[in-house]
């Protein structure tokens, strides 16, 4: 602790768990947007990863409440948020929006895979057949029209899902931005900053995994997709970082009362995590790499390595951004006179080990899903086979 903090502020209330939650819902929103760019807006370059994006969004969504439940003082009462919600609170939206969004994504996936499940039902026997029929809600008809209806439903849900996804992640930004008591958080821009940042993280994780998995499984990769992702990543990261910087720069320019303490925060406790890592290494770095990749004619392997590195750095950047916002805002005292400190323990209930586990599990789950319904390679193999035939 340095300077003076109010006695109750010595202890940091929102831990690394609360850093993880917006990070995971950010991945959800970003992945969903990418999926919708294909399913709704028909950007063909994204077709190879469309299904993967959709399923990733759902898997991350399943695990989003986990850090929150771990953090709550009384997790057994978590349902109170839907039983006696106080709608004046931004946080009260969580229960309902999350539920509605989960339903939307689930059924988008359901309609997407319905055809495949019907085929599996036809070939299955015994318990597996009964389970498949149950999961198909007993309706096993399949023909051209049902397929068309399924595709239409997917498109419709993708469309409806976009605003809901934006609300699901945007409300977190609003939650922070509307806290007038905290000079680091309070800004009307927070809602938009979080959304842009989320989209960046979503594109980054999809890019990273697409490149990683296809490399590991020695599958052919669609260069067109990578180029599209590279451009999207570059564009959205420019938007996200510009918004983040605008926010800070305008406070620095106006020099209202809070600038003095924020300057000390940025130059002190947050210097390494914010200035050095988030801004320079993980924002400027990817910006230059992606710019080189998009504007210059680079050999393909180099360009793809740049993309991979940028995606990895941006994944870290978004995590750092969440850390710097959530933890940074609590390091500074509302007395405007001092700072406290926070370092999560390794084995704490809300510590580093638990945080690591919570982040890793969705990826492991995706891997299992991939084993049952492989995400990548079918399109490319089919087009390669088709080319060979001709």
């Amino acid at each position: 602790m340095e300077g003076f903090v109010f006695p109750n502020e010595v202890h940091v209330t929102w831990t690394v768990m609360i850093v993880l939650y917006p990070y995971i819902t950010g991945l959800v929103a970003g992945a969903f947007i990418v999926s919708s760019l294909y399913h709704l807006f028909g950007i063909q370059a994204l077709k190879p990863i469309a299904t993967f994006s959709l399923v990733s969004a759902f898997v991350f969504l399943l695990f989003a409440p986990l850090p929150l439940l771990n953090h709550l003082g009384r997790p057994e009462r978590a349902m109170n948020i839907m039983i006696t919600p106080n709608f004046r609170s931004a946080m009260s939206g969580f229960g309902f929006v999350y539920l509605i969004y989960a339903v939307i994504v689930f059924f988008e996936i359901w309609f997407h895979f319905r055809g495949m499940m019907v085929e599996k039902w036809r070939e299955a026997a015994g318990l597996k057949r009964k389970l498949l029929k149950l999961s198909l809600l007993g309706s096993t008809d399949r023909n051209e029209r049902t397929d068309a209806i399924d595709r239409m439903m997917v498109r419709g849900l993708a469309g409806v899902g976009i605003p809901v996804a934006l609300i699901l992640h945007g409300y977190v930004g609003f939650l922070f931005g509307s806290i007038k008591a905290n000079p680091w958080w309070s800004t009307p821009l927070m809602f938009i900053i979080f959304i842009f940042s989320a989209i960046v993280s979503g594109i980054a994780v999809l890019t990273f995994l697409y490149q990683f998995v296809t490399w590991r499984q020695r599958l052919p990769v669609s260069q067109r997709t990578l180029n599209a992702l590279g451009r999207l990543l570059w564009a959205f990261m420019i938007g996200a970082v510009s918004l983040e910087l605008m926010e800070v720069l305008s406070v620095a320019y106006e020099q209202t009362e809070r600038w003095a303490v924020l300057k000390e925060l940025i130059g002190g406790k947050l210097f390494v995590s914010y200035v050095v890592f988030q801004l320079f290494i993980c924002s400027l770095g990817p910006f230059l790499l992606l710019m080189a990749r998009t504007l210059l004619r680079l050999p393909q392997r180099l360009a793809n390595s740049f993309l991979f590195i940028s995606a990895a750095l941006l994944l870290i950047q978004v995590l750092l951004m969440r850390w710097n916002v959530v933890i940074g805002g609590q390091l500074l005292s509302k007395s405007y006179r001092g700072f406290t400190s926070y370092l999560p323990g390794l084995f704490d209930k809300e510590g580093i080990l638990v945080a690591g586990i919570i982040i890793i599990i969705p990826f492991l789950l995706l891997r299992q899903f991939d084993r049952a319904f492989p995400f990548f390679g079918r399109e490319e193999k089919a087009s390669a086979a088709g080319a060979a035939k001709r």
């Binding site: 003076f4 109010f6 006695p7 109750n8 502020e9 010595v10 202890h11 209330t13 929102w14 929150l68 953090h71 709550l72 003082g73 009384r74 997790p75 009462r77 978590a78 109170n80 948020i81 039983i83 006696t84 919600p85 106080n86 004046r88 609170s89 931004a90 946080m91 009260s92 969580f94 939650l175 806290i179 007038k180 008591a181 905290n182 805002g329 609590q330 005292s333 509302k334 007395s335 405007y336 006179r337």
Partner: protein, 255 residues
């Protein structure tokens, strides 16, 4: 015999938690001497009162009696504070030094500045401001933080999920999460004492009459009389929380 400086803080009665469901009418025992359950007036009668608080920073000596009394009376967990005392020392170069060692629960042991360098020094006790437009009740997602009809901001411990949003939203740093029970906690203006015709533990304990709790609407209450005669300030009025804790002798340096 009294060699330890800590007063014995024994754990007294735990709050009996009411069930979350079911309505029940208050028991109709007579108003009480300590030991008898007081009768709560009707909600309509309660809304005719409005509790407020006054802190006289010109009289405070920073002894910490209020912090100790509150901690004992309300079973406040260690290292968290429902009330605390801050000390301000402003030196001749206009540098401001502020401290509050453990909320001043054992007062202050040393000066911050040397006497020759000191221009001005004073103490500011702080507590929940029981704001009329409190940020904490606005942000509680489950409606556990609420205003009583007589203007006291309270926490429904059977409903609170311990999310900590209210702790972040309070501009004054009055709230904390009680990790033993997993819910948010804060000054209740000794609500259990107010309804037994007693005043708050901190106001009772203060040997300098620096703290007054009273009804803002009663024209003859000691609180109202002081407010009508003296000049006072509020903490962070620009936040729009409309606090009901008034400070006599409030210095600009106090945030």
């Amino acid at each position: 015999m009294g060699d330890n400086t800590d007063l014995n803080r024994r754990r007294f009665i735990q709050l009996a938690l009411a069930g979350a469901t079911g309505a029940f009418v208050g028991t109709l025992t007579a108003f009480g001497a300590p030991g008898e359950k007081p009768e709560l007036r009707s909600m309509q009668d309660l809304s005719k009162l409005e509790w407020g608080f006054l802190v006289d920073t010109t009289r405070c000596i920073g002894c910490g009696s209020c912090v100790r009394a509150c901690s004992a009376e309300n079973d406040v967990p260690d290292s968290f504070y429902r009330t605390w005392v801050e000390r301000y020392e402003i030196d001749k170069d206009h540098e401001v030094h502020v401290d509050s060692p453990q909320g001043a629960i054992e007062s202050f042991k040393t000066d911050q500045c040397e006497k020759q360098r000191l221009a001005k020094g004073f103490f500011v006790p702080k507590l929940c401001n029981h704001c009329r437009a409190s940020a904490c009740t606005q942000v509680c997602p489950v409606g556990a933080s609420f205003h009583s009809p007589d203007g006291v901001v309270l926490i429904d411990r059977s409903r609170c999920v311990g999310c900590g949003y209210c702790v972040q939203a309070c501009p004054y740093g009055c709230r904390y999460i009680d990790h033993d029970i997993g819910t948010a906690d804060k000054c209740t203006l000794c609500y259990h004492r107010l309804h037994r015709d007693l005043t708050t533990a901190c106001a009772t304990a203060c040997p300098r009459q620096a703290r007054i709790c009273g009804d803002l609407r009663a024209p003859d209450s000691p609180l109202r009389r002081v407010l009508d005669q003296r000049r006072y300030g509020l903490l962070k009025p620009e936040m729009g929380t409309d606090p009901k804790c008034y400070y006599l002798g409030l210095d600009l340096e106090v945030k």
